[in-house]
Symmetry: C7
Subunit: 94 residues, 7 copies
């Protein structure tokens, strides 16, 4: 993929419910922030963002939980991605 996020943004690709079930995680539909699982496909350079030093803590391939409503969705070569700020990622799942 050739989308390079700016600043402290990351590009993620949602993991389908089927895959989610296999890994043993079920995310409840009623949660108020609607968390979802995704795989990180691109990571911005971090550095000074809005005057503050930001170190990127995730890397390509990480499986992450994020808030569904965060970020902006784009479709690229028929695949949907979400571009969001690293701070909208809640956790890495291993």
């Amino acid at each position: 993929m050739n989308i390079k996020p700016l600043g402290d943004r990351v590009v993620i690709k949602k993991i389908e419910a089927e895959e989610t079930t296999k890994s043993g995680i079920v995310l409840p539909g009623t949660a108020k922030e609607k968390p979802q699982m995704a795989e990180v496909v691109a990571v911005g350079p971090g550095g000074i963002v809005e005057g503050k030093e930001v170190a990127m803590q995730v890397k390509v391939g990480d499986k992450v939980i994020f808030s569904k409503y965060a970020g902006t969705e784009v479709k690229f070569d028929e695949v949907e991605y979400t571009i969001l700020k690293q701070d909208d990622l809640l956790a890495v799942v291993e």
Copy 2:
């Protein structure tokens, strides 16, 4: 458990009312922020969060009081967890 929270987030597991009663703490249902007790099951690395140094003050196994409406709920291997910022924890109970 293999959820690794990012930044200053922690993962907690709510302690059921029965256990709460045993430990002598009763949390009133009418409190406006609805505090609850939980056990810390994972702690983020802290460090620079939104440009500010954050030192993690809780550790895995701590029993904590938190605001019910804070954070995001996820279900993992049939167990429900909440991911929230350390600042949404009010106190440690010993």
Copy 3:
């Protein structure tokens, strides 16, 4: 008591109206922020809170005036406490 507040939070126990009258202070019910008197029963460590150095200025046993709507109420061994940020305390009464 074994509730240890985190960061710049304190745990206080409200002083009943009777005691209040004895000490000569009457807090009007019509005040818009509804101040109340309380005794400090636990004090957080202070330190870096939200990236800012906070020095704790109250100690266990201090009688304080606070805003009624601040903080979170918890019941412990049949006694009600309030957990709030030190900045929600207005004054110490001696």
Copy 4:
């Protein structure tokens, strides 16, 4: 008086309209922030407040103009006081 305000707070006692008239100041009832005159009866220590250095610029006995809606009112030994932040004081009148 033995109310010791915390941080950058001050305790003031309103000056009655009669006294106000004598000193030659009349504060219009229609002003949108309703300023009033008061005498400073206690001054907090200042220092680091919300992470910022605050130097106290008023002293006990100063006559000040403040915004009526600022602060919290308390009654002590049958006298009403207001506890507010120094920044809610507009000016010292000499």
Copy 5:
């Protein structure tokens, strides 16, 4: 006049429309912020205000344009003044 504004506040006295016309400036009644002309009658000491260094850039006698809705009005010896923050002054007119 003996009103000493605190911090970065200034005390101004509005210039009547007649005087305004003489100096060649007409301020439109339909402007959304309703600017007005005034003369500076007292200037606060500046210094650290809300944790930031403020240098006072106006002096007593300056004619200034300010936003009508800014600040607090007080009447002193039958004269009306406005107390506002220096940042609510838009420009000095010479």
Copy 6:
């Protein structure tokens, strides 16, 4: 002109639509922020504004694009000007 803007403010004079057309720029009436062209007629000193160092980047005579709703309008010697913060200027047109 003798209006001296304070801080990081500038005084601009709108360029009429006719002139705008000559220079080849047409600003659409439907744009949500309604940008307009203007000429800079006075520039504040910059320096520390709200605790932050501001360097002035425009000079008298610059043609600028600005947001129509920003700033305050004043009429001086029958000419209308707008006083606004430099940050409300979007670009310089050469």
Copy 7:
């Protein structure tokens, strides 16, 4: 083009849907922030913006994804441009 954006602003020219399709990217009309592709045609100098150091990370010719509602639209020599802050750019596409 002779529009020189100020501070951390950039001037972009939207890429038509046809071009977008050729490059293999389709941006869904239902996305809540309506991202779009554009080409960067001018880049501000960066430097200290609102008191914070901003380094410009895009250059003229970069293809970028941005939020449709960000910025201000201007028409210049019959071509429409958008002036926005660099932080409103989400990613560079290569």
